[in-house]
Every structure is written in C-alpha cells, then in structure tokens.
C-alpha cells in the first residue's frame, strides 16, 4: 500500500535528532512493548510481516504523531483483536480509555507468475504496481532502473505472508540505483541500494 510509513525521499523533514551513544529505549514500557510483540511472534500469534503491515495500516495522523514504540504497541493490540484474542471493548475497559487500533487490511496477493530468476549484473526495472495490501519495497524505486549486485537466500514473500496467503519463498536482489536518477536534479550524489523481492522486478533486455 502507498502508506504513510513509506517516507524514504520525502522532503520537508528537519535535522536528524542525533546524539552520541543514543539509547534504544527511553522508558521501561518501551522495552516491555518490544518484549510483548516478540513474545506474540514467538508464540506464533502473528508473524513479522503481519506485524509490519499492522504498523503501516495505522491511521496516518496517528502514525505520524506516535512514538516508535507506540506504533509497536498499536500493531500488537490490533493483531490481537484481529486474531480474536481480545476485543477492542475489553482493551478499552482495561485501559480505562480509548484504545486506537490500525485500519482494516486490504487483500494480499501471491507471487507474480511472470517473475524471473536474475543474476548479478542484470539490469532491472521495478514494476509499476499499486498493491492495496502489504508490499515491502519503498515507493521511491517504483518504475526505476538499476543493476543487480547481490542475491539473498529465499525469504517468505511479504505480500502473501502478511495476509496469511501461501506463496513460494523468493530471493531478494540488492539493486543499485543512482540517487540522481531516483530524484533527478534533487538529490546528493550517491548509490542507493535496495533489497527487492523477485516478484517486484522485471529484467531489462
């Protein structure tokens, strides 16, 4: 989905709030949330693709205003409701207030049937597709052309795995793009590499 989470290359953001030896957790509840969703994954209540997608489905105003670990919490709670473990009403009764959850999911999809095995050095274009469900590729590479420089082992296909659909595992390809081709006349010179699933790519002749 073209969600609010997909912010790579968005303009208007200020300086990185960088500090030396920065912390991961600032409040004890943050580490507790991290533990709770990890436990849910460990118990097989949901998988990491479902977890990521439930974050991406947060209402955009909520997503942007929530801290990182509030987003984790919202995903955990949303999936527990969707899996029938608890109702939103019970959560709100226990929390003594409104308990915002993510928006409903659109359907997922299986592997792209015309996908091809690729080799290092192949020139590839990212397919121009607008998928309503989970997609694990940043929008800034859509329709762009790059070169394969690395191949990964096969991973579960996120577009299916986030929706409980069976699909074949797929390798991802590390594709090298030029920043100045991704954002013509509007980027610092650099090579940008993205790990892209086989189904998202087309070989350029």
């Amino acid at each position: 989905m073209d969600g609010i989470h997909d912010i790579g290359g968005r303009q208007g953001f200020g300086r990185v709030r960088y500090t030396l030896k920065a912390q991961t957790f600032h409040e004890p509840w943050e580490r507790r949330v991290n533990a709770l969703y990890s436990l849910a994954v460990k118990l097989g209540i949901f998988n990491m693709d479902e977890y990521r997608h439930a974050i991406e489905r947060m209402e955009p105003r909520h997503y942007l205003s929530a801290s990182y670990y509030e987003r984790s919490l919202t995903s955990l709670a949303t999936l527990c409701v969707e899996k029938g473990i608890v109702s939103q009403e019970e959560l709100e009764r226990r929390a003594q207030g409104h308990y915002p959850l993510s928006m409903p999911s659109a359907p997922g999809r299986g592997n792209v049937s015309t996908r091809q095995k690729l080799a290092i050095g192949d020139k590839v274009t990212v397919r121009v597709e607008h998928i309503p469900g989970h997609v694990r590729a940043p929008g800034y590479v859509r329709g762009k052309t790059g070169v394969v420089i690395g191949i990964s082992p096969a991973y579960p296909f996120p577009d299916a795995h986030a929706h409980g659909i069976h699909a074949d595992d797929e390798p991802t390809y590390d594709v090298r793009f030029n920043a100045e081709e991704l954002w013509p006349n509007s980027a610092d010179a650099a090579q940008v590499h993205v790990g892209i699933f086989e189904s998202y790519l087309e070989k350029v002749a």
Binding site: Y18, A35, L36, L39, A40, L91, T172, D174, D188
Partner: protein, 198 residues
C-alpha cells in the same frame, strides 16, 4: 450535564494501553512477565555493539577472516560465537575505504542486524533519518558530524528485506599493531551503521 449518546472518550495513556495488553496476555496464559525478564537480558546483555566490535577487530587483524566475512557474513560471525535470529538469513558486510563510505538505513521502519551491531538507536528509527538519508546522504552525514570530502563516494543501503547489513569501518592508522581486544574497544555502533568514523 447534557446526555451525549456517543461521546468520544479520552485516549488511554500509552502506559495504560501497554498494561492492558499485557494483562490480556497474562490472562490467556502467555506468561508475558517471564518473557519480559528474558527480553531485558537479551536487550542489555546479548544484543550489544561489542559483538560487532569484536567482528570488526578480528577483520582488521586477520585477513583470512576478513575474506570469509565479506563472502558470507552470517557464517563468519558464528566463528566468534555470535548468532543471528532465524529470519535474518543473510548478513552482508560493507567495507568502507578511504574513498568509500557505506551507510545503512531502513526507510520503511527500523530493520538492523541487532544481534551483531546492537539494537538501533532512537534517531535511526526517527522519521528524519529514514526520509532524508537516502536522498540527501552527504548533507545528512555532514549534519551528523561526518563531513566527507567530495572525493569520497557514498553508498546507501536501505534494509527493506530480511538481508541485514553492517559496515566495516576503516581502521584508524594510529591503531595499526594494536591487539584485537584493544581494537574492539574503539569500535562504535554508529561506525557500524556508517554515520561516524573512528
């Protein structure tokens, strides 16, 4: 007080919401308290940047290990007794050179090789870093204190799938000849993300 049939109640605080979901998990027999304690230990004792620092120091002092590390990172780190979660099936180690700076990001969220380089710092997960470093890499690095001359090429790596990356920083020249243990002490998490030199 007027009788509104459908008044919007106030949003519960984030801590109330965490308590609520934890209580649900407790009631459903998932034993969250036990796992919270285990997780605290993992986060504080196991997933620490000292792991990656040992890998870097070994690569600086053992050319054969470095070759194996660059060829298959996941296999090489196991030689040092380190491990990665099952879903991190691939570790790609990116070697910095005097004329080349590699930098890691996850624009979609926060993925990192956390069992090797440590859990990601707060700024890595912030909107600003995720939005900007792919497009304004040189500018962002400069703002973060790493002012690279124009002769240094930049490679940005967006961690959008289950492959994980770590940067192998350049060994400072004044440390040539140091022991592996002493070298490991100078390697920082930020240098393995690629936003700082040593």
């Amino acid at each position: 007080m007027p009788d509104h049939g459908n008044v919007q109640q106030n949003t519960a605080s984030v801590e109330q919401r965490v308590d609520a979901i934890e209580a649900v998990m407790q009631d459903r027999g998932m034993e969250p308290k036990v796992f919270i304690d285990q997780f605290k230990h993992l986060a504080e004792e196991d997933w620490v940047p000292q792991n990656g620092a040992r890998v870097v120091a070994k690569a600086w002092t053992d050319p054969e290990f470095k070759k194996r590390l660059l060829a298959n990172g996941r296999a090489a780190v196991t030689e040092l007794g380190l491990s990665m979660p099952a879903h991190h099936r691939h570790l790609v180690v990116l070697e910095n050179k005097p004329e080349l700076q590699n930098v890691i990001v996850c624009t979609l969220c926060s993925c990192t090789a956390f069992s090797i380089i440590g859990l990601p710092p707060d700024w890595y997960k912030d909107l600003e870093y995720r939005a900007r470093v792919v497009r304004q890499s040189r500018t962002v690095l400069k703002e973060m204190g790493l002012d690279l001359p124009p002769s240094v090429d930049i490679r940005v790596w967006d961690t959008t799938a289950n492959t994980r990356y770590m940067v192998l920083p350049v060994q400072p020249s004044h440390t040539i000849g140091w022991s592996e243990e002493k070298l490991a002490e100078i390697v920082t998490k930020d240098s393995m993300i690629g936003v700082a030199h040593l």
